[in-house]
Symmetry: C2
Subunit: 265 residues, 2 copies
Amino acid sequence: MYILVTNDDGIDSAGIHALVQAMRRIGDVVVVAPDRQQSAVGHALTVASPLRATPFHRNGEVFGFAINGTPADCVKLGVSTLLDRRPDIVVSGINHGSNTSVNAIYSGTVSAATEGTLMGIPSMAVSLATFDHTADMSLAADVAYDVASRLLDLQLPAGTLLNVNVPPVAKADFKGLRITRQGHNEWKDAYDVRIDPQGRPYYWLTGEFVTVRELVDGDDAVVANGYAAITPIHYELTNFSILETLRSHPALSEICSREPNEGRS
Amino acid sequence: MYILVTNDDGIDSAGIHALVQAMRRIGDVVVVAPDRQQSAVGHALTVASPLRATPFHRNGEVFGFAINGTPADCVKLGVSTLLDRRPDIVVSGINHGSNTSVNAIYSGTVSAATEGTLMGIPSMAVSLATFDHTADMSLAADVAYDVASRLLDLQLPAGTLLNVNVPPVAKADFKGLRITRQGHNEWKDAYDVRIDPQGRPYYWLTGEFVTVRELVDGDDAVVANGYAAITPIHYELTNFSILETLRSHPALSEICSREPNEGRS
């Protein structure tokens, strides 16, 4: 097994170090990761500036390529250009902080795994559901090992990846793994308005992650109950359930059925 | 109607100017948009630095707030903090370049509309399917008017927004609107490797947008045929079709059913 490891916390983070050690139990590991913290970058790509790939050392040996870009950049550049052979799987993480519910759409960790899937490679993201940067990564690394070592056996359909979230509990309190759906928790956003010494306002994003509608098999609820949540996600965004409703909706059928140019201003 | 307009090409772009003029035919318009080009930022949020909101002038009058952030930042900051009342709809665009198929996941334009939806406001994104920055925006502005003026009537389900893509054709050649699904076109990625004057490589993202599997009702195919494509999308990422398969998959059931700590290293 040849395993591409990346993340969004940066190549020097504790999470990617723990993940690499776990993946080395499965096969050969190559690391291509951002050279700095890239949280909440979503599925950003660097298009207006060139990328650099710099060897990054840890404990006196080359740990991987540090990239001046986003997690998605790392996977695209790694697979297409830097690596001399195609990875069998892509594993992204271990992220400091939950990527459950809507967090998945803001997550660089998840976007890197999505990029692997887009390139036709079975991929997964792993996150530890705590922002405590001193948190013990060993349970999350065990879970990453358990799932990654079976990832090829699962024969996921094209376009589907696994989003794995691990509870911040001691191993003795860990309850096991569950297959889940994306939860419905939401951010209640707020900005902290401050005034600079010149008297001008500036705005810091703050917010509270709240349970709007509890889903028993949602990733948030399952993680809160001490299980690791494995959610199969894809980048098919169409809401198929309303296609026909929209096609026959009076407000739209009026403009959809209109002859070209008729009534246009 | 109180309409929040944003985009990802920046507050000084031709596309947002054309969109604002179209929206003023529907109601009161407020602009909160990035102070510079933000293409391919995905659903990025600014969390590690504070935001600023600066009045931006056009033709001697205040056009809107310019934000040193992403399209998603603009909607979050605008709705939660800058605006004195809640917008009735959020309209993002007009983007220079198609946001069909997988482009939707890289798109700042779409992410801004997604953010509006997350905040409970009916939202839509509008893109003109050409990268020609001198392209005529008037057809796309007409389509934006047609759809936005009916957006509240559609009573979209919570979490669903409209992703509208307009073909780069003359009005005389425009064939009308179609309700579509997200297409399956993909980027065939490549990096142009160059050597700097110090002899070190750097990498420019290039790529070709290719048709992998043509979907008759996919947004790309419909736009290519001269129609505007209206795709209802949502941020529910779960692939429900494989949940049960995974739950009963031998490779996973082994670890999912395992008692806590049993066999864990």
